[in-house]
């Protein structure tokens, strides 16, 4: 076995997986806190903190969905289209006919479960199926809500504007989501099986588990997280728009990778993903407090990804890498 061909990993390398998300968040957070300490000071600036952080929640949810897909080595390239579609369902349907709206959302879940089954049975690559689905979701969104607008049910916006004491609500939500995600992936049998499928499907099947069940469940959960992202985004923005979640697909992929996940499957971190999503979201505020033109918003996101992965990969490079 040509073991030495693989990048050798030193003792420190084991910790780099948790290093990447921390670095990515600190890079963004430290300048913000330094220039605008109100963001961490206690309750006096509560509303401001909530405002600044709230829009991270839909990204966190979408990223957790993407994380689930990536845990089994798949990817969802229709995330932004799905999230946008859900805002349209919320705006155009839910406000008029709750039953129909819920039915539509359930339909999305069923389609996602089917995608999981399809990918398993036909051995089709998820990347290309979800590219196809991205057109379908956008088509549906345009059909039910051709132009931005809509009327989001009050319950969604009310839920997103709860005010728990002491800690800003978005932080509470994010912490809960990170905990839930961690529990799901690392403490439940499902999470272990999903990560197992991401690493070695054959052995999961040979040990008597049904890989199709795992894939169906994973994709149904991807859909569920996408729906939650859409509902929260609609609640926060009070808008329904077929393009509202633009860039969510790539942002969510970046958040998972910044969180220490890998495309190859089997390697994910829920807390890291939440950190990564926050880092991506806070870039706008970073530019504001540093008085940098927002023209740089995309570029700074790029640089943060570069920097975090550079630091994360630093220790791996200690070994010999023969080819890339």
């Amino acid at each position: 076995m040509v073991r030495s061909l693989d990048a050798r990993r030193g003792g420190l390398a084991r910790y780099t997986e948790s290093l990447v998300p921390v670095v990515s968040l600190l890079v963004v957070l430290i300048p913000i806190v330094w220039r605008q300490p109100v963001l961490i000071s206690p309750s006096r600036y509560y509303a401001m903190q909530t405002m600044a952080l709230a829009l991270a929640i839909p990204i966190v949810l979408a990223s957790l969905g993407q994380m689930l897909a990536m845990s089994i080595g798949e990817i969802d390239f229709s995330m932004e289209n799905l999230v946008s579609l859900v805002t349209c369902v919320m705006g155009a349907v839910m406000s008029r006919n709750v039953a129909l709206g819920i039915l539509l959302l359930l339909g999305i879940l069923v389609v996602y479960a089917l995608i999981g089954a399809f990918i398993h049975l036909k051995k089709l690559p998820s990347i290309i199926i979800t590219i196809g689905m991205s057109f379908v979701w956008t088509g549906l969104a345009i059909t039910i809500q051709p132009t931005p607008g809509g009327n989001i049910p009050a319950i969604a916006s009310d839920f997103m504007r709860l005010k728990p004491p002491w800690v800003p609500y978005p932080i509470v939500l994010a912490a809960l989501l990170a905990l839930a995600g961690h529990f799901l992936m690392f403490k439940t049998g499902f999470g272990i099986l999903a990560r197992g499928v991401g690493d070695n499907v054959k052995s999961i099947q040979q040990s008597g588990h049904s890989a199709i069940r795992v894939r169906i469940m994973v994709f149904a959960l991807v859909g569920l997280f996408g729906i939650m992202a859409g509902v929260s985004l609609a609640g926060l923005t009070n808008a329904a728009d077929p393009l509202l979640a633009k860039n969510y697909t790539l942002l969510s992929v970046a958040a998972v990778i910044l969180g220490g996940g890998a495309f190859a499957g089997g390697k994910v971190s829920a807390a890291g993903t939440v950190f990564g999503a926050f880092a991506m979201h806070l870039v706008v505020h970073l530019l504001v407090v540093l008085k940098i033109s927002t023209d740089w918003q995309a570029g700074v996101k790029g640089f943060i990804i570069l920097f975090a992965l550079y630091i994360g990969g630093f220790f791996k490079r200690a070994g010999k890498i023969r080819y890339i």
Partner: protein, 481 residues
């Protein structure tokens, strides 16, 4: 035998047009250790896959504890009836911890505290079979050595809450070194005779002879013979497997030393070694063997030699090529035809006006097919349509067709049948006669007799070197430990 645990009745299995098993019948008694030997493609693994419920037979069936098993029989049922297998290909999930892997394979570890219970269960078994294994329950499997993974794989089968009735071991020692292999064989010998039956499949006939009560020989999907374990001999088994005995002619063998000291060096140590450890040198036409326990730095040296531009320790005179032992991982291009797999090193030779000439490619490949007998319906068939041994022949053809002065071989006969091995030995002999040099890492003592010089490895360093004629099994083992 009325009290047999397993009674296989006329099982056949075909994959498309190829018949992997035809009308195989077999019984396994409780507590028995059955040795199963035969060439690659003789049907051993297929038979065991059927028994473990991985795929159903095309015809025939089998009884377990006297009860016939029908069409719904699958891995899950096999597992619940106490049938488990350790296959050549490891089944662990590398990204999961040892305890999590236990949970995947033994779903009874659930509810509060499963992590601890699963960890304790696997540790107990590991301590019993492989004392001094050094595995911890919360370690990720990817951080274990190959040997440790194999140990874990074996221990996992014993460490279930449910009863184990039959354990199939398919080449269990391929990643284990000599010491651990002995531990395993000792453990099997201790456990057999109880309720657990074993099926031991291996190309290492000595291991089979060391533990089996009864040895079944398979050939071309049928059982070609059966002998009692006690009193069976290597030669008899090889005869039943249907090949000539592997007493290789002694052109390079013991007692036939060649004097190559006047030949130019192809691989030469450069400068002074910092650590004082021994280093390899290789002369034109020489065959150098790397010995020692598995995983003690032999492959690393081969890779370091191959990546010679970044290697400060050696002067390399001329191009090198590399023949891996793990074909699937390191050798094959799985979507390509046999032809494309052969010609990748020699594009300059099959091009006209910078464009690859298909007919030239085919003629180069055809030449090799004829000279080393690559058994393929057509050379444009996919490489994976070949058996393992023939895939290995393709890798040899690829490297020997090139103009490399030295060929580095990383245990090239791993999992290869005796017939192919003979061809490989012949090729090495012929090519070294023509001035090609070889560095040959092998896990089989037998093969060292083809070498002019043998270097023994321990803990990543060369601890001894000796001329091939002096390289006795005893001398090598003495240096390895």
């Amino acid at each position: 035998m009325a009290d047999a645990f397993v009674e296989v009745q006329g099982i056949s299995k075909s994959f498309g047009s190829s018949q992997a098993l035809s009308d195989v019948s077999l019984t396994i008694a409780p507590g028995e250790c059955l040795g199963l030997v035969g060439h690659n493609g003789a049907g051993k693994s297929t038979l065991m896959n059927v028994l473990c419920g991985i795929f159903p037979p095309t015809a025939g069936g089998f009884l377990l504890d006297g009860r016939p098993q029908g069409g719904e029989y699958d891995v899950r049922i096999a597992n619940s009836l106490g049938i488990r297998a350790v296959f050549q290909e490891l089944s662990l999930c590398l990204n999961l911890t040892v305890a999590e892997n236990m949970r995947v394979f033994h779903p009874e570890f659930r509810g509060w505290g499963w992590r601890k219970r699963a960890g304790d269960a696997i540790m107990t078994v590991l301590d019993e079979i492989f004392p001094g294994h050094g595995v911890r329950p919360n370690q990720r499997v990817e951080s274990l050595t190959l040997g440790q993974r194999q140990e874990l794989e074996i221990a996992k089968a014993f460490a279930s809450g449910k009863e184990l009735r039959l354990l199939v071991l398919d080449e269990p020692t391929s990643a284990l070194d000599y010491h651990n292999s002995l531990q395993l064989l000792n453990y099997i010998n201790r456990r057999k005779g109880g309720r657990i039956s074993f099926v031991y499949i291996s190309h290492m006939l000595d291991e089979v002879l060391a533990c089996a009560d009864r040895i079944v020989v398979m050939k071309d999907g049928r059982i070609s013979g059966e002998v009692k374990g006690a009193g069976a001999t290597r030669d008899h088994l090889i005869e039943l497997m249907g090949s000539k005995t592997s007493a290789a002619p002694g052109a390079l063998g013991n007692g036939n030393a060649r004097d190559l000291s006047d030949r130019p060096l192809v691989i030469a140590p450069k400068g002074k070694s910092e650590s004082g450890a021994g280093r390899v040198s290789l002369r034109e036409g020489e065959v150098v063997g790397l010995a020692g326990l598995a995983g003690h730095g032999q492959t690393d040296l081969l890779i370091d030699l191959f990546d010679w531009r970044r290697n400060p320790d050696y002067d390399i005179g001329g191009p090198l090529t590399f023949i891996p032992g793990d074909r699937q991982r390191d050798g094959n291009f799985p979507l390509w035809s046999i032809v494309n797999n052969i010609t990748i090193l020699v594009y300059p030779r099959v091009r006209r006006y910078r464009i690859i000439d298909l007919s030239l490619e085919r003629s180069v490949s055809g030449r090799w097919r004829d000279s080393i007998g690559i058994l393929a319906a057509s050379l444009t068939d996919n490489i994976l349509s070949l058996s393992g041994g023939n895939q290995q022949k393709v890798l040899f053809a690829r490297c020997l067709e090139s103009d490399a002065r030295a060929i580095l071989m990383d245990d090239p006969t791993r999992g290869v049948d005796v017939g192919t091995k003979e061809i490989i030995y012949r090729l090495i002999r012929e090519e070294s006669g023509r001035g090609r040099s070889f560095v040959w890492y092998t896990t089989e003592m037998d093969e060292l007799k083809h070498c002019d010089r043998v270097y023994v490895f321990r803990n990543g360093a060369i601890v001894a070197d000796m001329p091939g004629v002096e390289a006795t099994e005893e001398a090598i083992l003495r240096s390895s430990f």
